[in-house]
C-alpha cells in the first residue's frame, strides 16, 4: 500500500478514525452535546477529505476497494445525509432522555459501512460494508430503551437482515466456487469461460439479489419495511431510508456494470417483475395506512421500484437517472422524516391525526412537510418531479414502454395518499391549542437550519437541475 493509496482512502480512514476517537471520548467524558459535536466534526472532516482523495481518482486500492468519481459522488451524498441525521437526532433524542452518547457513535459506524459499500469492488468489502451497516442499524433501531415498538422493530430487522445476509453470502460462495475470483472486475471474463456451470452461477446471482433486495425492501422482500420504519426512532428511519438503501443501490449499479451486458440481460425479466411489483405493492398498500411513517415506508418501496426502472433503462442515461433520483430521494426523505422527528415528543408523532390542522399551529413546519410530500408525489418545481422526469426519459429512451407507463400510473395513484396527508394539515385546527402528543415540539437551531437548507435545495434542484446533472454526467462517465 503506497502513500497514494492512503490519500485515496482518506475519507474512509477519517470517518473510521472519528468513530474510534468518539468511542474513546465517550469512555472518558460522557456528554451528549460533546458526542454530537465530535460526530459532526468527524463527518465534516471526512467530507473535506473528498477533494483530497479526488486528486488520486480513479484508483484501485488493493483488490478490495475502488475510488473513482462514482464512489466520490456517493460518498459525498452519504456523508451529507449522515450529517443531517445527526443534527435531527439531536433535538429528537433530547426529548427521549437516557444515555444518548452512543447513538452518535453507532451512527458514525453505520456511515463507515455505507462508505465501504459504495467503494467496494470485491465480495469481501461488499459483505463487510453491508454487515457493518446492518449491525449498526440493529442497535440504532432499538436504541430508545423504553420503547416496546423499538425492540420489536429491532428484532424483526435483525432476524430478516441476518437471514438475507446468509443468502447473500451463500450466493457469493457459489459464484466464488465457480469462478475462482471474488473481484467484480474479473468476473465478467470468468463467466465467459466455456466450462462454467451456468446453473450454479445463476443460483448464486439470484441469492445475492435476495440479499440485496431485502436491504432495498423491493417487492417480494419488503415485509419488514413498514414495521421497522414505524418502530424505529424517526431520525433512524431517515437513515434507513436514505443512507442504507442509497449505498446498497449504488453498489448494485456498480456490480451489474462490472458484470457486463449479458448478465444484465439475463436478469432483465426478473428485475422488471420486481420493479413492477414494488411500484404496485408500495402504492396500493400505502392507500390503506393511517400512520405517516408507514405511509412513507410503503412510498419508499414504490420509490425503489421507480429507481429499478431507471436502473433497467441501463446505459449512461439510466445511471444518470439513478443518481439524480437518489439525490432527490435523499433530500426529500430527510425532510419528511425530519419533520416527523421534530414533531415527536416522548411519543412518536406518526399518526395521521397528529397532523390535523398542523398548518394553523406551525405554518413553517407544515410548509416544509408539504414541499416534501409534493416532491415525493412528483409535482413540478420540486426535485421529485425532475427525478421522475429523468427516469421516464431514460425508460422511454431504452424503449421500456410498459415500465414507463406503469410508473406513470403509479405516480397518479401515489398522489392520493400524499395529498391525504397534505389535506390533513390544512383542516381546521382541533378546538383549543392542545395538540395531541404531549409536550410542544421543540426544534434545535441547527435542526431547523438543516431542514430549511434542505427544503431550499429541494426547490432549487427542481427548478434549476443543470449543475447537478452536469456533475452526475461526468461522474457516470467514469463508471465501469
Amino acid at each position: 500500500m503506497t502513500t497514494d493509496d492512503l490519500i485515496a482512502l482518506s475519507p474512509l480512514i477519517t470517518i473510521a478514525a472519528a468513530s474510534v476517537a468518539l468511542m474513546l471520548a465517550i469512555a472518558f467524558y460522557r456528554d451528549a452535546r460533546v458526542a454530537l459535536v465530535c460526530a459532526l466534526i468527524g463527518i465534516a472532516l471526512a467530507f473535506a477529505m473528498l477533494p483530497v482523495a479526488a486528486s488520486r481518482a480513479p484508483r484501485q486500492i488493493t483488490p478490495l476497494l475502488i475510488l473513482d468519481q462514482y464512489a466520490l459522488f456517493y460518498l459525498g451524498l452519504l456523508f451529507i445525509a449522515s450529517f443531517v441525521v445527526a443534527l435531527l437526532a439531536d433535538g429528537y433524542l433530547d426529548k427521549l432522555g437516557g444515555e444518548l452518547e452512543e447513538f452518535y457513535l453507532v451512527l458514525l459506524l453505520a456511515t463507515v459501512g455505507g462508505a465501504a459499500l459504495v467503494m467496494s469492488a470485491h465480495f469481501a468489502s461488499f459483505f463487510l460494508g453491508l454487515e457493518i451497516l446492518s449491525v449498526s442499524l440493529y442497535v440504532l433501531i432499538a436504541y430508545p430503551r423504553r420503547s416496546a415498538r423499538g425492540v420489536e422493530a429491532g428484532i424483526k430487522y435483525l432476524i430478516l437482515a441476518a437471514t438475507s445476509a446468509a443468502f447473500l453470502l451463500f450466493g457469493m460462495a457459489l459464484i466464488y466456487a465457480e469462478l475462482g475470483t471474488m473481484e467484480f472486475g474479473r468476473m465478467a471474463s470468468g463467466m465467459a469461460g466455456v466450462d462454467v456451470r451456468r446453473e450454479l452461477l445463476l443460483a448464486g446471482q439470484a441469492m445475492i439479489f435476495v440479499g440485496v433486495g431485502f436491504k432495498l425492501a423491493v417487492a417480494p422482500f419488503h415485509v419488514w419495511a413498514p414495521d421497522v420504519y414505524e418502530g424505529a426512532p424517526a431520525p433512524v428511519t431517515a437513515f434507513i431510508a436514505t443512507v442504507s438503501k442509497g449505498a446498497v443501490f449504488a453498489l448494485l449499479v456498480r456490480y451489474f456494470a462490472n458484470l457486463g451486458d449479458e448478465v444484465f440481460q439475463s436478469f432483465f425479466p426478473a428485475l422488471a417483475a420486481i420493479a413492477i411489483a414494488s411500484m404496485f405493492v408500495g402504492n396500493l398498500l400505502a392507500l390503506a395506512q393511517t400512520n405517516v411513517k408507514r405511509i412513507l415506508a410503503y412510498s419508499s418501496i414504490a420509490h425503489l421500484g421507480y429507481l429499478l426502472v431507471a436502473f433497467l433503462a441501463g446505459g449512461s442515461l439510466g445511471a444518470t437517472a439513478v443518481a439524480f433520483y437518489l439525490v432527490a430521494y435523499f433530500v426529500t426523505n430527510l425532510i419528511a422524516f425530519g419533520v416527523v422527528a421534530v414533531l415527536s415528543g416522548r411519543r412518536e408523532a406518526d399518526e395521521l391525526e397528529d397532523y390535523h390542522g398542523l398548518f394553523w399551529r406551525r405554518p413553517w413546519l407544515a410548509t416544509i412537510f408539504l414541499t416534501a410530500l409534493l416532491s415525493l408525489g412528483g409535482i413540478p418545481l420540486t426535485a421529485g418531479f425532475m427525478g421522475k422526469f429523468y427516469i421516464l426519459m431514460a425508460g422511454v429512451g431504452s424503449a421500456l414502454w410498459l415500465l414507463a407507463i406503469i410508473m406513470a400510473v403509479n405516480t397518479m395513484i401515489s398522489f392520493y395518499y400524499y395529498l391525504r396527508v397534505a389535506f390533513m394539515m390544512f383542516r381546521d385546527a382541533p378546538e383549543g391549542e392542545a395538540a395531541p402528543g404531549g409536550p410542544p415540539p421543540s426544534l434545535s437551531f441547527m435542526g431547523a437550519g438543516a431542514l430549511a437548507v434542505l427544503t431550499l435545495l429541494l426547490v432549487w434542484i427542481g427548478v434549476y437541475p443543470g449543475p447537478l446533472v452536469q456533475t452526475i454526467r461526468s461522474m457516470v462517465a467514469g463508471l465501469r
Binding site: 465480495f123 469481501a124 459483505f127 463487510l128 454487515e131 449491525v135 440493529y138 442497535v139 432499538a142 430503551r145 416496546a148 415498538r149 425492540v151 420489536e152 422493530a153 429491532g154 428484532i155 424483526k156 435483525l158 432476524i159 441476518a162 437471514t163 445476509a165 446468509a166 453470502l169 451463500f170 457469493m172 460462495a173 457459489l174 466464488y176 466456487a177 475462482g180 471474488m182 413498514p226 414495521d227 414505524e230 418502530g231 390503506a288 395506512q289 400512520n291 408507514r294
Partner: protein, 97 residues
C-alpha cells in the same frame, strides 16, 4: 467439491427451516448461526477448489460478523424478555397493517 457444497446447502436449508418454524427467539438465533456457518463451509470448500486462502479468509469474516450479530441479538433478547415477559417471537407483533 460437489459434496462439500451439497452439505453446505443442506445445512443452509435446515437453518432456514429453523428460522421459519421456530418460535423461540433464542432458537431462531441458533438457526441463523447454522445458516451463517453453512455459508462459511461453502466458502472453505470453494477456496479448496481453487487452492486459495480467500475462502478461509471469508470464513473468518463470517465468524466475526456472526459473533457481532449474536452479541446484538442477545441484547435484544434481554430487552424483549423485559418488555414482553416472554421469549416467544410471535408476542412481538404489535404493529400491523
Amino acid at each position: 467439491m460437489e459434496y462439500g457444497l451439497l452439505l453446505a446447502g443442506t445445512l443452509f436449508a435446515l437453518g432456514l427451516i429453523g428460522v421459519l418454524v421456530r418460535r423461540d427467539i433464542v432458537f431462531i438465533l441458533m438457526s441463523l448461526e447454522i445458516m451463517l456457518n453453512a455459508t462459511g463451509l461453502a466458502f472453505v470448500t470453494a477456496g479448496a477448489r481453487w487452492a486459495q486462502a480467500d475462502g478461509q479468509v471469508m470464513y473468518f469474516f463470517i465468524l466475526s460478523m456472526a459473533a457481532a450479530e449474536v452479541a446484538v441479538g442477545l441484547a435484544l433478547v434481554l430487552r424483549l424478555r423485559r418488555q414482553f415477559k416472554t421469549l416467544d417471537a410471535d408476542a412481538a407483533s404489535r404493529m400491523h397493517g
